[in-house]
Point group: C3
Chain length 345, copies 3
Amino acid sequence: MTDSFTLKEISDYLDGKILSGNPDSVITGVSAIQDAGPADICYYGNTKYAGYLGTTNAKAVIVASSVETSADCVLLVEDAYDGFRKVLHLFKPDHSSGFSKLHSSAVIHPDSHTGRNIRIGPHAVIDTDCVVGDNCSIGSGSVLGPDVVMGNDCLIYPNVTLLAGTVIGNNVIIHSGTVVGSDGFGFVFDAEGQHKKIPQNGNVIIGNNVEIGANCTIDRAVTGSTKIGDHTKLDNLIQVAHNVCIGKGCFIAAQSGIAGSTVVGNGVVFGGQVGVSGHLVINDGAVIAAKSGVTKDVDSGVTVSGNPARPHMETLRLGAAVSRLPKIIELVKEFNTGKTGETGD
Amino acid sequence: MTDSFTLKEISDYLDGKILSGNPDSVITGVSAIQDAGPADICYYGNTKYAGYLGTTNAKAVIVASSVETSADCVLLVEDAYDGFRKVLHLFKPDHSSGFSKLHSSAVIHPDSHTGRNIRIGPHAVIDTDCVVGDNCSIGSGSVLGPDVVMGNDCLIYPNVTLLAGTVIGNNVIIHSGTVVGSDGFGFVFDAEGQHKKIPQNGNVIIGNNVEIGANCTIDRAVTGSTKIGDHTKLDNLIQVAHNVCIGKGCFIAAQSGIAGSTVVGNGVVFGGQVGVSGHLVINDGAVIAAKSGVTKDVDSGVTVSGNPARPHMETLRLGAAVSRLPKIIELVKEFNTGKTGETGD
Amino acid sequence: MTDSFTLKEISDYLDGKILSGNPDSVITGVSAIQDAGPADICYYGNTKYAGYLGTTNAKAVIVASSVETSADCVLLVEDAYDGFRKVLHLFKPDHSSGFSKLHSSAVIHPDSHTGRNIRIGPHAVIDTDCVVGDNCSIGSGSVLGPDVVMGNDCLIYPNVTLLAGTVIGNNVIIHSGTVVGSDGFGFVFDAEGQHKKIPQNGNVIIGNNVEIGANCTIDRAVTGSTKIGDHTKLDNLIQVAHNVCIGKGCFIAAQSGIAGSTVVGNGVVFGGQVGVSGHLVINDGAVIAAKSGVTKDVDSGVTVSGNPARPHMETLRLGAAVSRLPKIIELVKEFNTGKTGETGD
């Protein structure tokens, strides 16, 4: 059952202004501008999509400045994308679980403490000496090892594994398949050249308001803690090695990996498939372009790209130079042939 | 218990022709040409393996044209590799589960509907309002969130997570550890620079005859659906971001990732560890070489490679030019030293 | 409850020599030199951390040669890092499970055989005809398909999936989320251009003393076995395709992938995010630098880097040449403009 709202109700909710259209128009869904149906609301905020303004079938469009559009209704707000975000909440589909809040098949050790208003799905497991705060949800098949501590308002999706000693703040979301607290990858070579395992005695500490995507791996520290700071968001399939320390408000795209003991500052942004070597410092506000291979410290606010990663402008300059290289080689060969007959081949 | 067949039985099954060898020869297994034992059948189809024709211990070899070989028997078919495929079916080992078809430890919400002849493994979970078609198998520990719809003849391996609202066609295979329907990675920055989560209201729709490897992540759409078309095959550890639309008959190798809203046409092939930026169009029949970083649309039928990805011939040309660069620099230094004394260092 | 030891006890345990400090000093923990508290022991072995020797708050430092330090106690051993490893064992935190050794919610098929002194967590599943050796631990939610054979002293973390027919040696560790025995990625194109699945009849064989990180995927062979040799260690999120054969004592960092049928020798080391094409041979003792894309065989003992991977010295030489390219282009343009007015743009 989808909810429906009038344009006026949505406008009031967004603290917006109706630039055109009937305030009583009924909106039954939210959609992208190019996909919207005749009772949908959408938003326009990226000029790349300007072509759809005149063709959209949407009933209403949320904008931050006046536009010409085929939609009947135009709703002005301060930040169109944030308006879209809020409207998505209005129309969020109801996918509530049909199971009881504490499913009888979940296994919860009696020496663990769970807060008020929590939900624990079928076949979830909570080992001994855990603390789970209020309003948390632990999905089906998820496993909390011994001594896991979790704050309030956390959402742990199904089939997550939180290993022994993991500490999680408030309002944290962890998606399915993610493993927190696996052993770091540490070995010492003995005299016979065999690897001997370095015990991984530390843990993982995750701050408040963190979101971690699906099938990530976050290794426990050798000693001390691997840390992920408040408000940091990780996409899917990300590797965080032992003793990595990620600051606050970072934004790390899918399939990136950070090797051991590297320190990532605050407000750092990674594109996808980035690799960062161990024992480095990525300073506050740095931006690492997708697929970069970072082998040196990155200064605050600097954007790097390429492998090995360099300041982005330098990567672009070298890339442009390489693009011209075949032509340059032709020129050099011409000079050289003229002089010595040597072609450089 | 391995089955055994005579050469004649296999020849009949493959609609083949015995070029040499006793039709009553007993074949008890199938193997690679270099590993085959004296009662095995193998195939020869790749000239890289021609050296093994004279040394193989196989009893029989499947070929598409006459060959000289140490094997007693030669079996001619139209397509040797397809013959091999069929013979693999003949000798498929029996690894049937010993559990009852609907294991008593599985938790199935009574408001979900399951078809005929289905198998549900121990500790599997099916939440409310799901529909599972006929002849499906749901592996141990797999979780279907609320409102998952699945066609007939699907094979879901153990520890798969299909989140709320996921729609799956007929004859789909999903390997262990894969997560379908995790939230897309979408945030809006507020005035204080904090990330606010964009609700991910959409779902994932997977077509017919799709196979998805192990530990993949396929995010749900913001609105609408992330889509994977009929007959498309994904290898392991692949990331498909929100609102990506992959066409029919694509073939995506391991550890590739596709960023949000990118559209992949039909018959597209990716090598491993490819990364594709968001909001791009990869047109029908394009080929993306392994480890490419695709930052622009790719035209129909074009092969691209490198990072940033370029048409493959151009990548090769630039790579060859770079290989010659040290020599070219020497030449330029010679000219220059002769003229100005400047060495370019 | 952390244990505590005197310096003398630790020195005796390490077969070390107290260079300075009171033998009765009480040590209550082990830490990194930069993080150590006043009752901690740390080690010094990497000159990168020399600056901490004079500032550490540690009570004691383990060294392999005499040093000046702010720590009260200095303990001399032959190999400082190995001493650290041993001390980590002394102080390993106790995160024992609170559940009974064979949890009643685990589902174990009666036709499987489990050895002495084993631990099976809640909701683990062991299908028919498995053999699990003595002293093994199978974590919560882990699934063993039919016909899995495991030696003694194995540690299988929660939510691992070991599919039908997998064979595992002694003293193997497999971290959470890892999938062993998923189908390889093999298809044949039929006349209509559709992919037809090649049955994957083989299995995976893992040797002794192997460790496999979290969320890895190791595919079963088409025929025969995908193999991982004794003492080989895999980090997290690694892809091992069908029929890959990895030798002994290899060391493969996170997010690397090895395509089908490639043979990796003994003592091979991979950095992170490496990709290796199929049907190659990486010979003994080769080193593959992080993010390399390996497209050709690698000779014994050779270090390669880059994409496509080349001998590392060549990659460095070409990288240095490319760094100089913009300057070289300027020089060439100067010559050329002087001669022909053509700028090479």
